[in-house]
């Protein structure tokens, strides 16, 4: 475990040097916020109107928080580096190191998102308060309770992204599968809360990563309840366990294929 902590710390410190680069991404976040502010401003006719149980302020805050998670989770490590290592053959060297490659990537990714997400969280708080106003019924204690949900959500996201990248063991380019996963999260997960979908679709959405990666943390911040909190936490733990098994299985199978091809 200590070696992964060392990797995490090294990447964390390294990323502190690139905060200016991360801040450049703020432009896209701000533009998306403007788009959604205008969009939901148009969708709500009158103040106090509810759509799927959300007021206009809650809805915009929900979207801003899911976008914050989306931008905070952006990383070339889980998206491009894994696929490039496999395609370029670098994996043959990394596989022999005294760590498990997927966990090495996960530790590296955690060091990256810790900085990114913190910066985007600060931006979201400032922009949200300026453009929408304070979040109704928000208590600081909820934020402390939601932190484990965010950590689990980000880790689940990384596990699935690594799984998809590892498809490069079999196909040359796993990018198209990344697009589909990203669109699932972006289109269905970040723009709308699950409640807005038809009742028949909602149970299906709860089985997808959307529920654990985006919806869970954002829902708890805008409308916290203990029952929902426990439900989401349990779903995340189960999802992470399931994702980790899949990840290790793909890695083992892919590693064998690499051996057959002679690296």
């Amino acid at each position: 475990m200590r070696k992964y902590v060392v990797i995490y710390r090294a990447v964390f410190i390294e990323n502190l040097q690139y905060t200016a680069n991360i801040m450049m991404g703020f432009i896209t976040y701000l533009i998306l916020s403007v788009v959604f502010l205008n969009l939901w401003g148009y969708m709500y006719d009158a103040p106090g109107e509810l759509i799927a149980g959300y007021t206009k302020e809650q809805m915009i805050w929900y979207v801003m928080i899911t976008e914050m998670i989306w931008f905070g989770a952006r990383s070339s490590t889980v998206r491009e580096q894994v696929a490039a290592d496999i395609r370029g053959g670098n994996i043959a060297y990394l596989i022999n190191k005294p760590y498990r490659y997927p966990f090495y990537i996960l530790a590296k990714y955690t060091g990256e998102w810790n900085i990114q997400l913190s910066m985007y969280a600060g931006l979201t708080a400032v922009v949200g308060c300026m453009m929408v106003g304070a979040l109704p019924n928000f208590h600081w204690s909820t934020l402390a309770a939601v932190v484990p949900c965010i950590v689990l959500g980000m880790t689940i996201h990384a596990v699935f992204k690594i799984c998809i990248s590892m498809l490069s063991f079999w196909i040359e380019d796993a990018k198209p599968f990344q697009w589909l996963y990203d669109k699932l999260i972006l289109v269905v997960g970040t723009i709308f809360p699950v409640e807005i979908f038809p009742a028949a679709v909602q149970p299906v959405l709860k089985l997808t990563p959307i529920y654990t990666v985006c919806y869970g943390p954002a829902k708890l911040i805008v409308d916290f309840s203990v029952e929902k909190y426990l439900e989401i936490l349990l779903a995340q733990v189960l999802y992470l366990a399931f994702g980790s098994v899949i990840l290790l299985w793909i890695y083992e199978r892919g590693g064998r294929k690499l051996y057959v091809n002679g690296g």
Binding site: T28, K175, W179, V187
Partner: protein
Amino acid sequence: MLMAVKNQMRVCALAVKYNIMREMLNKVTFLTNILFMMFNNAAFIVQWVILLRLREDVGGYTMREVMLLWGLAASSFGLSHLLFSRVFSLPELIVNGKLDAYLVQPKNVLLSVMTSATSASAIGDFLYGLVLICIFCFSVRRLLLFLLFTVTGALIMTDFALLMGSLTFRFVRAEMLGSNIVASAITFATYPDGIFHGVSRFLLYNIIPVGMAIYHPVHIMIAFDVRKLLAVLGYLVFLSAAAVFVFYRGLRRYSSSSLMQSGRV
């Protein structure tokens, strides 16, 4: 003069042809990229189905107009990346000193750079737009206008990316700033202009060229207006001239990185 232009066009066409042939070397990957990009774009239909369940129209757009908007945005984006993909990574070439290879060629530097790469997935974007217009709002007149505006939209997006990318000649940080602004133009292009008011609307029609590349053409396809058509064409000429001017001014400041020697270009 005419012969030189003709020769240059021929070189550009050959460059694009060979770029596509290179992408087709692995046929499975090539086809997967195209098909999955179309599925990827189609995912956004879900978003609009949900939004239009809540209200009859969004910013004055019903499903038909939204699909027209999406189709034009996808096809314009696709065409610009299919023909001039390298423009979108121009800052990287400038920062890493990789323009050397183009400077020694006996043809036009800018066109050589622009046509030196393609993107297979852009074919998916281009086709997706055509499929949308054929399914949701087909008429021969509209299809012809759609093709015209796909070309003008692609050129406006390319010019804008070239303009933003050329800023890197002067400021290194402009690399990320430019790519973020170009990406934001694509984001705006897929939402109806009717939802934007005030400053954002001013920006979309004056600074970020989404108004001229996408919104005006969509309005023209819905209700033909010759003044808007002339405005789009005039804007295209103006932006192209500005982008070419800024690129060549910036090129004077470019310094080589001797990559030729190590064969890395």
